[in-house]
């Protein structure tokens, strides 16, 4: 049937070239944003790559050095480990908060949202400084402990992994809570009611119905926190830790050692890792979507 009529009449001229199309007109709108992006984003990233190969001993020297020298590649491992720890803790702490906000009514919801959004938009410099005030040798926590006579000497809180992690998790919390919240708000409450009517107790409703439905939000939140932590500079630079995060290492390479090729090579590795994590997330996400999970 489909072929019966096609090709019966003489084909008139092909029209697309002169036909007016509303959609095609959108393309010129892309020129300014792509120009901005090309000149001040793509070009600098390409330059990072070129710069990483400009070491006097050959184009791959910097990468060989990163592979060989523990002091150079350890920050990468440390950063990855930190990102994983921060992501896990942020998820565990955020899930109940997002759940409660999604269920809260009226004023309580507004209050809770404000408590999440204000830190979200507060400078990381300010929030890290606050942790320094709390954690330093003569900071609020130590002063309080000394005054109360709980300790004799100030505890070492800053420049420790625990202190830095506690601060980083706190700074990342809004980035986890907000995507979780948006996926929780999208859940149709009648689905849970249906599960309850079908005889699932709250724990089972959660495990079999609620949690799977929030997986897209869990994925987005984890991706956001993990990727952001990979490039974390401010908090680790200010509070320190047992080792250096890679962003801090890059900054030190250029400002203290003036080794631009090496810094660029580290930056390239960080760039590739970030892209890989993003692609991994996209993959998982589209698989989740195609399975019709949401």
């Amino acid at each position: 049937m489909a072929d019966a009529r096609a090709g019966t009449g003489a084909r008139t001229q092909r029209t697309p070239a002169r036909a007016w199309s509303p959609a095609r007109r959108g393309i010129w709108l892309l020129v300014p944003p792509l120009l901005l992006l090309g000149l001040f984003f793509v070009l600098p990233l390409a330059y990072v790559l070129i710069q990483s190969g400009s070491a006097p001993k050959g184009p791959f020297d910097t990468y060989v050095r990163i592979a060989r020298e523990t002091s150079l590649h350890y920050p990468l491992i440390y950063t990855f480990r930190t990102a994983a720890i921060v992501t896990v803790f942020a998820l565990v702490l955020s899930y109940p908060v997002a759940f409660l906000i999604s269920r809260a009514r009226g004023r309580w919801q507004l209050v809770a949202m404000t408590l999440v959004l204000v830190p979200f938009w507060t400078s990381a410099v300010i929030r890290s400084y606050a942790w320094l005030v709390l954690l330093q040798r003569r900071g609020i926590i130590n002063e309080a402990l000394l005054t109360l006579g709980l300790v004799d000497r100030p505890l070492r809180l800053s420049n420790t992994d625990i202190g830095t992690h506690v601060a980083m998790v706190q700074i990342m919390l809004p980035f986890m809570i907000l995507p979780l919240l948006s996926s929780m708000r999208a859940i149709d409450p009648s689905v849970l009611r249906a599960a309850a009517i079908l005889g699932a107790n709250p724990a089972r409703q959660f495990a079999h119905v609620y949690f799977p439905l929030t997986l897209p939000g869990v994925g987005a939140g984890c991706a956001l926190v993990f990727i952001s932590t990979l490039g974390f500079y401010i908090t680790p630079a200010l509070l320190g830790g047992s080792s250096t995060m890679v962003a801090v290492a890059i900054e030190q390479q250029v400002s203290r050692l003036l080794d631009w090729p090496l810094a660029s090579a580290l930056a390239t590795v960080l760039l590739v890792l970030t892209c890989l994590m993003f692609l991994l997330y996209e993959r998982l996400n589209s698989r989740l979507a195609s399975r019709g999970g949401a």
Binding site: M1, T8, G9, T15, A19, R24
Partner: protein
Amino acid sequence: MNMSNPDFHGSLHAAPAGRGAAVEFDHISKDYGDLTVLHETSLRIEPGELFALIGPSGSGKSTLLGMLAGFVPPSYGAIRVDGTDIVAVPPYRRNIGMVFQNYALFPHMSVAENIGFPLKMRGCSRGEIAERVKRALAMVRLDSMGERRPAQLSGGQQQRVALARAAVYDPRLLLMDEPLGALDKNLREEMQEEIKRLQRALGATVIYVTHDQQEAAFLADRLAVMRAGMLEQIGTPRQLYEMPGTHFVASFLGEASLLPVEELLARDGREVRVRTPGGLVIRALAPSRVSERRAVCLRPENIVLGPAARERDNHFLGVVEEAVFTTGSLRYRVRLPGSDSVLTVRVPSHPGIELLAPGSSVDVGWDAAMAVTIADD
């Protein structure tokens, strides 16, 4: 501003009743890569005609309308309005009025601003805009609603504002894309009258897309049934209902029972005698070439039950399979002897009539003129 439509400004002043545009689709087609959504189609719509395009969703009726409005560039072919090809003309210079499915009333403008918008775009003076908006509001009987926002109106009122906005600049061609789709049944019938009245007042050619066959039959001078990106049949609503060309058209417009045809036995002018696989011999009408026709189509209200059936051209003793009361009529499913064929029969209901019991035998009959052979696909 190379305007292909010379009436763009001219139509603003004179309001020429009875001057609709002629529309011609000339070998038009649309494909997206390998996917063809509209096969090569040619179609002519006469000036002042109310032409309906009907078909299930995805049949290509909205694509055809979108091409005419200028939203969808055709892959091949030409579209002529009064003889001028408009394919290269952007929508804002086509001077075509359009009513959208969800009205697309601008939520940030008042009703009067919505209706005045096309006049403003045409550079009319404030005074003229105010005057014509007032007239348009009166035309759709919303005189006091000008200052309201669309969201403050009911669905039917919004629909009228959309009509007024599309008609206020006297376009010679009005497109309507499922304009009543969002309204409930009673309101829809009321608005159908309104649209018919408006079209007569404006004299514009109207092309109306809908999937509601009753609406199309009520409104349209002519209609085209579309299916899978092709025109299946074009004609007046009566022609299409009474002389459907294909099974698809027959069942899309109203209810139909189909009896398969195995063999053509005889032909006498427009009348034929055919035999079904079950061995029944049936007399029916054959409008054109009979070789392609492989089924007999019967409308439920044209079949007679009971003793009166014995006097018809075709008469059989059937068995009632199902009997149901529906508002206004009794609806039966009757199996014909020696076959799998089941007819749907509709008999007017009144207190003096008994509902036949399922399983009982009944005389079934119809005249040859009531049955038509069609292509069964």
